[in-house]
Point group: C2
Chain length 345, copies 2
């Protein structure tokens, strides 16, 4: 059997099965956005790591070095945000071909270190090495949080409302403009979509703020795709979910672009991923108060998009009807078809 | 300017210059084997990360999957050993081509997890992703130690004796047998050399034991090469060193192989690296007692190989004479010549 047959989530399950549960007494292991290590009676560390590979996760000729530095850190900060923590320390492993221009690495570090400083993180170490052809980036972020405030993906409760902390689909729209060679740098809306893809913003303040509410039950960030990230919540919480396609918070610029190219904006938004805002499930009785305070604090809506149900499956509802989503979230081992245009993009 | 002109250590210096020293109040940053994060008044965490890339750091057809899993962890454990710590938690990022056999990944995890269990570590998380062609492995290990016992590479004192905790050169000999197509699997000595290269043993017990002695001043593990790792000690401690070529502890099997192929065994041992035992500098007055106790505890010698001097340079002494070592340690960005045979090895 090849890895392509098993998929990324299949591999993770297989690894987890290899690990003796008894070993994991004081720590929460494989499967959530971050691992948790108890620091003392009250506090814990959150630890997350992500790898970005040239030609798989980014194309060097399309993303600026500063943006790549920023994004490599942002996607990890987003995992800290998804558990409610505050990021503190960073480790960076970087493999570079010998032909890499030093000016490029300087700009990469500029983007990386500016975001580190802005979010109060210190780069403490890492590894630098040679690669033959492609740039490889591995980032580790360690955060801190009061243990009782940690939010997990397995704590959704039947009846919870599902919300997102920001608009969805801009990042996917930006990527699709590139992939289908429709990106026009002269159009401001196109540039905004591409920026959402290349300069995602980790919802650190939002995550930390929401973690203060015990009525916020489950939390996860949108990386693989809204649909597959909600799938993560329901599988881990052993519940079901309904997502209402009409409720997805879409930017008007994004809707106009989708209309122009006859794309289904909602379906693009639900499956394309890399939004890096948060999905939260909230007790319905607490939702009005939390949503009001969120609006006041952050100046934008906490967007209601669905409900946690007892169905044990994900239902996507369009005009009151359950529809089949053919286009699934992005599983890195199975996504060849998504990137089939990569050679000439 | 290209990265090839700057080299790996040049890049690390350039990154370090970008980072405001004032930011690093409670932590020791870039430059030692591990970063140090203060846990509480008495204890600290040690954190290290290393990246291994197929065709750069290993060749898949030459190293067994179990051995690679073991080695990917061992080289990181060695960094924890070099500061005197005890390893606790592991994070593994793994990028695999879709064509990878699941049986291969199972054996990789077997080797990885067996060593984790043997050394009391827990695999807490990581990242799995797709790569186009090569396997990429990034490992992070977090260890613990009493803060006052941490050993650094910048604490060598003029007059200190330089010692190694094990034999040196077997790993380099194994690699050279492979690179020069002289490896004969029917010969036990050849198999032993290759095993030293493919299954290095992190000197965790030795490092932790030595950390108890305040007279042990500086410590580092042999990864890049004995010469360039001693160079790290003297540059960071702002001292010099003499290494006595005749004093290098070489295995008799290794010396016989070198003799047969007319290799200079000492020069191979001093520059080839990847031994993953420790180099320590010890106050001369304390050396006899520590060496005696080491011999009793570990059943082998703490090997005296040189002295810390005030010369601010590394001198390699052969038969009382200072010699020039043309063959330098292995800097990953500059080592193309070392791996020039890689395509057909």
């Amino acid at each position: 059997m090849k890895l392509a047959d098993l998929g990324e989530f299949g591999l993770i399950k297989r690894i987890a099965e290899n690990i003796d549960d008894k070993l994991l007494r004081n720590s929460i292991g494989i499967g959530d956005d971050c691992a948790v290590i108890q620091k003392n009676e009250k506090e814990s560390y959150l630890i997350t790591t992500d790898m970005l590979i040239e030609d798989i996760h980014f194309l060097k000729e399309h993303i600026k070095a500063e943006e790549l530095g920023n994004k490599a850190l942002a996607v990890n900060l987003s995992d800290i945000a998804a558990m409610g923590g505050k990021p503190r320390w960073i480790f960076l492993s970087l493999a570079l071909p010998a032909k890499t221009e030093i000016a490029w690495t300087d700009r990469f570090f500029k983007g990386f270190l500016e975001l580190a400083e802005m979010t109060g993180c210190l780069l403490l170490g890492g590894d630098t090495t040679h690669s033959k052809k492609n740039i490889i980036i591995n980032v580790v972020v360690i955060g801190e949080i009061e243990t009782e405030k940690i939010k997990f993906r397995d704590k959704a409760i039947i009846g919870d409302l599902i919300c997102t902390t920001d608009l969805v689909g801009n990042s996917g729209c930006g990527l699709r403009l590139l992939l289908e060679k429709k990106f026009d740098p002269a159009i401001e809306a196109h540039r905004n979509m591409l920026q959402a893809h290349h300069l995602p913003r980790a919802n650190l303040q939002e995550g930390s703020w929401l973690a203060d509410f015990p009525e916020v039950h489950a939390m996860i960030d949108i990386s693989d795709g809204l649909d597959s990230d909600v799938q993560q919540i329901i599988e881990n919480s052993q519940v079901g979910a309904q997502l209402f396609l009409e409720k997805l918070p879409l930017a008007s610029q994004m809707k106009k672009i989708a209309e122009k190219f006859s794309w289904n904006a909602e379906k693009l938004a639900i499956s394309s991923g890399e939004d890096y805002c948060l999905i939260v499930t909230i007790a319905p009785s607490a939702f009005p108060d939390i949503a009001k305070k969120f609006q006041k604090h952050f100046g934008r809506n906490l967007n209601f998009i669905g409900k946690i149900t007892d169905s044990k499956k994900l239902e996507v509802i369009e005009k009151g009807k359950n529809i089949d989503l053919i286009q699934k979230g992005y599983d890195h081992f199975r996504s060849e078809e998504k990137w089939k245009n990569i050679e000439d993009y």
